[in-house]
């Protein structure tokens, strides 16, 4: 009987060895040293639990069967056995301490964000992520790019349904990157399983975390803290590039940011602004005010044929730049740059029958923000 128990154990182990990689049931091994450590801890502790379970339930079922009533078994009636009691107290203590030692080492490593080569500020917003490469003058928001038609069921779902964005967070491999994480509105949580990072972003607080990615690739995650109606529609996508490719990307983005800053001062044509504004509107505004500006009253007012909006350009600019206090409309003064603000206001003033003919110049918006 004893040999049969051992045989069961050996078979269980053998079955596990062949599927150490993830198969959708287990947590991912991930692409950082830390994620590998966490996976290792998880499996070690899992197997400790399996061994304990097999031994305890094995002993129990064996006793139930071997000493059953129909075979005339008589219950033992002794009361105490100090050495057995000490043993079954000491063994769990040793097991727990044995698990705590490697777990503590991993935790210490996870919390050590020192000596990072790149700092990225991650800000949660209802319902998008904003990434800022500190000291590099590069910042952008990352919005879900899954078309609304797929969500409403009018189109077939794509491969990365709800896990795709217009602009992913781009990171270098083999470089320690520190994340500084906060929120503009409510608590969100930035979660990418393959990077073993799941960190709450809390308004008024800055949390730290870090990654050092070993393999280039695209890693997907989601907001992991219920944050409002579009909680499920603010995915995280990380594009990890080789170091040289990343440096090239960063230089390109820096140059583009400089060019954009120069664009504030020049006079823009209406068509340019409308074209730019439409893309800003679709990625930022349409989740609440809807694709055709029809809104979703009463929380999200319609913009199409909105008389106050049509008649008062200053009121319109104020709402977009400063938000509406006590309502869902956030202030976009720091999320969008003056060109984007001017473009989106010009677009909404001339789309869906709002034919005001108004053109708002980026320079006017820059002046309003400076006030």
């Amino acid at each position: 009987m004893r040999s049969r128990c051992w045989w069961l154990l050996v078979m269980t182990f053998a079955a596990s060895g062949s599927q150490a990689q993830t198969n959708g049931w287990n947590m991912p091994v991930g692409v950082t040293d830390v994620s590998g450590d966490i996976y290792g801890l998880h499996m070690t502790i899992f197997w400790i639990c399996v061994v304990i379970g097999v031994l305890v339930f094995g002993a129990m079922f064996y006793s139930l069967f071997r000493y059953r009533h129909s075979k005339g078994a008589k219950a033992a009636n002794f009361h105490e056995h100090t050495s057995v009691e000490v043993l079954w107290t000491a063994i769990p203590i040793l097991i727990l301490v044995g698990m705590a030692v490697p777990a503590t080492a991993t935790l210490k490593n996870m919390y050590d964000a020192s000596d990072a080569e790149l700092d990225v500020m991650i800000t949660g917003q209802q319902w998008r992520w904003r990434y800022e490469y500190l000291g590099e003058d590069v910042a952008f928001t990352s919005n879900m790019s899954t078309p609304r038609a797929q969500i409403s069921g009018e189109e077939a779902r794509g491969e990365h349904y709800l896990l795709e964005v217009d602009e992913p967070l781009v990171l270098p491999t083999d470089r320690k990157v520190r994340f500084l994480m906060t929120s503009d509105d409510v608590i969100h949580s930035w979660w990418v399983p393959d990077l073993a990072v799941k960190q709450d972003t809390i308004p008024g607080f800055i949390n730290e975390n870090w990654v050092k990615i070993n393999e280039p690739g695209i890693y997907r995650g989601q907001c992991a803290e219920l944050c409002g109606i579009d909680h499920g529609f603010m995915p995280v996508v990380v594009h990890a590039m080789e170091e040289e490719e990343f440096d090239g990307w960063l230089a390109e983005r820096k140059a583009a940011a400089e060019e954009e800053a120069m664009g504030v001062d020049r006079e823009w044509e209406m068509e340019e602004l409308v074209e730019r504004g439409e893309s800003v509107y679709q990625s930022i505004c349409s989740s609440c005010h809807q694709a055709e500006g029809q809104g979703s009253p009463p929380a999200f007012p319609a913009l199409a044929n909105n008389e106050q909006l049509i008649s008062d350009v200053d009121w319109h600019l104020d709402k977009v730049i400063n938000g509406v206090s006590g309502a869902a409309m956030p202030a976009f003064r720091s999320t969008l740059n003056p060109v984007e603000l001017a473009a989106v206001v010009t677009y909404t003033r001339n789309a869906w029958g709002n034919d005001t003919g108004d053109v708002v110049q980026p320079s006017e918006v820059a002046e309003l923000i400076a006030q």
């Binding site: 105490e80 100090t82 009691e85 000490v86 107290t89 503590t104 210490k108």
Partner: protein, 57 residues
Amino acid sequence: MWTVVKSVLAALLGVQNNRNRQEDFSSDKPGVYIATGVVITLLFVLLLVFLATLAAR
């Protein structure tokens, strides 16, 4: 004194045999047990603080 310390340590672990328990309960000075218990608990806390400091280095 040694029997008191042994009893407190046994209580900390949660295992005591019946003979010692009867002996402890026949004592008429519970204050000694309580005081020893408080001191040993404090020592245990200090030990944990020491271990945590060691681990955090």
